[in-house]
Amino acid sequence: MARPPEDRILLLGNEAIAHALLENGCRVASSYPGTPASEILSALAKLRKERGVEMHAEWAVNEKVAFEIAFTGSLTGLRAAVSMKQVGLSVASDPLMSAAYLGVKGGFLVISADDPGPHSSQTEQDSRLLAMMARIPVLDPSSPAHARELVAAGYELSELFEVPVMLRPTTRVCHACQDLPPGKVLPFPREADFRKSTARWAATPAFRYELHRKLDEKLAAIAAWPRTAPFRANPEAAGPKAVVASGVAAAHAREILREAGLWDRLPLYHVVQPYPVHSEFVSRLLSSHEEILVLEETTGVIEMQLLDRRRVRGKLTGAVPEAGELLPEIIAEAIATFAGTGADTARARDPERGGRRPTLCPGCPHRSSFYAIRKAAPDGIYPSDIGCYTLGMNLGGVDTVLCMGASVSQAAGFYQAYRLSGKQVDIVATIGDSTFFHAGVPALIDAVVQEARFVLVILDNATTAMTGFQPTPATGKTAAGEPAGSVDMEALVRACGIGFCKAGTPSRLPEFIGLLREAVAYSHAKGPAVVIAREPCVMDRSQADRLPAPVNVFIDETCNGCRYCTTRFECPALLYDEEGKRVAIDGLLCTGCGVCLHVCPLGAIREAPPEGKAP
């Protein structure tokens, strides 16, 4: 059916969520960037500016802080939201567990974006399990349009029961685009009005027991709230078997049932609130169907709540794979097997893998940093962290990646373990500027106190590059690009108790290698040393004026095709020509950073005079 084009705009799932937050009166929003959640707050900050809405939208230093700011906004009666990726929710899990007991005043949404696959995360963890652990309701949108509806439902639910509500989109909702009607931002007159109640907002353990009991009562009532109840996608279908699906798996299942001719034969229930699953639905489902297939991402959360285990097929029975994204091909096969219609098309194993591996951009200052680290400490151990620079593993400069901020504590861990064995080893850790502020600072304080001996290189490109160039605490800009306060990184490092803190420019390679050698020597003699590798990200347009003038590089005939530069330095602009058995420079990719001039062992990469052409 035709949809009038003037009433539709194309919105990314995350933008749809941002629109919905504004449309539903959200006044305090906070986040820490992470794929696939980042665009929620950036879109909100932009919209707020465009529409002239008075609200606070911030990039917080980490997810725990982000959570606490938004939660407190809700205590004053304003509507609030915090957004992050699933591993960020782990960081914010401490306030989450407690906030569930205390409850809220203004509607409070905890938006945690999961990444089944995983496409760009350390884990495939299911945020709905944390909602279960905290005992708060969670809503599972199946499309951008659905996410927008669930923001409205979530706020209503949150205020009705005074409870934080989790919205759990997945990558396929966050990064799907859909045609949607542009919404209206209506006035939402509310003023901050914090009503003191120490028994609640500062509850001691005795009161917490009461709060726990109250929370259980709320949950029982939420499991009967009509607005988020499961619904039948195909009310005409009847049969002994039924499919239960939530999130984007429900969207896939709808299409697959139609295509497979099962739409009129196989009842499909769409669960919107996977925890707590509506109790009446559970008993009706189990009494009216003999066999039930559950399709959900990533863990069997709905499945666990269907108590008659003999009739339920899903993740726990192996009917649906536990690891990896539930791609439509996998769902089609599971449904075909379940319905007994014979296998659909063969499913692809590992379909999205393969192809070219990602690499640091041409001219990226991190490439110089990693190259320099391997020169200065060739036999070192290199703990690293989460960001673009994780790709330094292509350059042999990254040995470990655990979670945000762990590079610093892992460096300390390596030092202590080797010390016990009486061995001295060079340890050079790398961490991005944003990650350092997020979770690196406490670990650095610990290293000072424990006298751990390593070098920490803070890769300071003045932005959060991997997630789309959000400001860091040192940038001095708000989420909407207005002036904000800023933190002096060197002063912070020194205040942690670090005696050696020097900044250098990684693209000035010989000098920078010298600085790292100095830092390594210091670390063995005295204690932890910090080197700040300071150079702007070449992709961040807001810093373009800080980039040095490009150098015109060319490769002369003495290149013998040893490929040292393409393997050890791996700039995408350096290409090995199989026929000519030599390396050439791709002039369109090359940014003219000039670092490769110092890399070729034969000196075959040379600088041409600025106006002159390569001979």
């Binding site: 059916m1 035709a2 949809r3 009038p4 084009p5 539709r8 705009i9 194309l10 990314l12 794929t35 696939p36 496409h119 760009s120 199946s142 499309s143 396929r172 990064h175 799907a176 685009c177 859909q178 045609d179 984007v248 969207a251 896939h252 709808r254 299409e255 697959i256 791609l327 439509p328 091909e329 089609a332 098309t345 692809a348 379909p351 999205e352 393969g354 192809g355 070219r356 591996r357 990602p358 690499t359 640091l360 951009c361 673009c388 790709l391 991997m466 997630t467 995408p572 369109l588 990719l589």
Partner: protein
């Protein structure tokens, strides 16, 4: 309005998402429903980027294997990776150097968009050169335009998106025209 499923594939920085969004806008202007699925994050650093586009009354944002009506491939090496999406009767337009595409059927055609964009002096134009070529109904693909929309509809989308950015608009329209010229039989 006919339903159509398209997969756009390429490498980070080639403008895969831009092409998918242009097509999505064109679908909206025709009054059709549209759902896309995009790759963001790590893959943007030169890795594989793929966008799924479904025009019509769909509900899932992903194209299933062997269901795509068409494939737009901005980097020849990805054809091997993503041709599994193509329906047996589907068409593919692939950016490949002359002689650089093997295993194609009659409805698979190649254009050296890299070479053309280089001549044109703008490597960022590969995506529009390839799209222009596909819109022209290149040899091997029988229809005028195998896509659900016409070249004029894409031009209109570009004009709306680039309002006030005349230089960018002119360059984009020129890149589109360059691709179309090479598609003319």
């Amino acid at each position: 309005m006919e339903r159509q499923q398209i997969v756009v594939s390429g490498l980070g920085g080639q403008g895969v998402l831009f092409v998918a969004r242009l097509l999505a806008d064109a679908a909206i202007r025709k009054g059709a429903g549209v759902l896309t699925s995009e790759t963001h994050g790590m893959a943007q650093r030169g890795g594989v980027v793929v966008a799924h586009l479904k025009v019509g009354d769909f509900e899932s944002p992903l194209v299933r294997e062997s269901r795509a009506d068409g494939l737009l491939v901005l980097s020849a090496e990805n054809f091997r990776l993503h041709r599994r999406f193509l329906a047996p009767s589907g068409w593919a337009v692939v950016n490949a150097p002359p002689g650089g595409l093997t295993g194609g059927s009659s409805r698979v055609c190649a254009i050296d968009a890299d070479g053309l964009a280089k001549e044109f002096g703008n490597l960022h134009a590969i995506n529009l050169v390839l799209l222009g070529y596909a819109l022209s109904g290149p040899a091997g693909v029988e229809e005028e335009s195998p896509l659900f929309c016409s070249a004029e509809e894409i031009r209109e989308v570009l004009r709306r998106r680039m309002e006030g950015k005349e230089k960018l608009l002119d360059a984009s329209l020129a890149a589109l025209a360059l691709g179309m010229k090479h598609g003319k039989r």
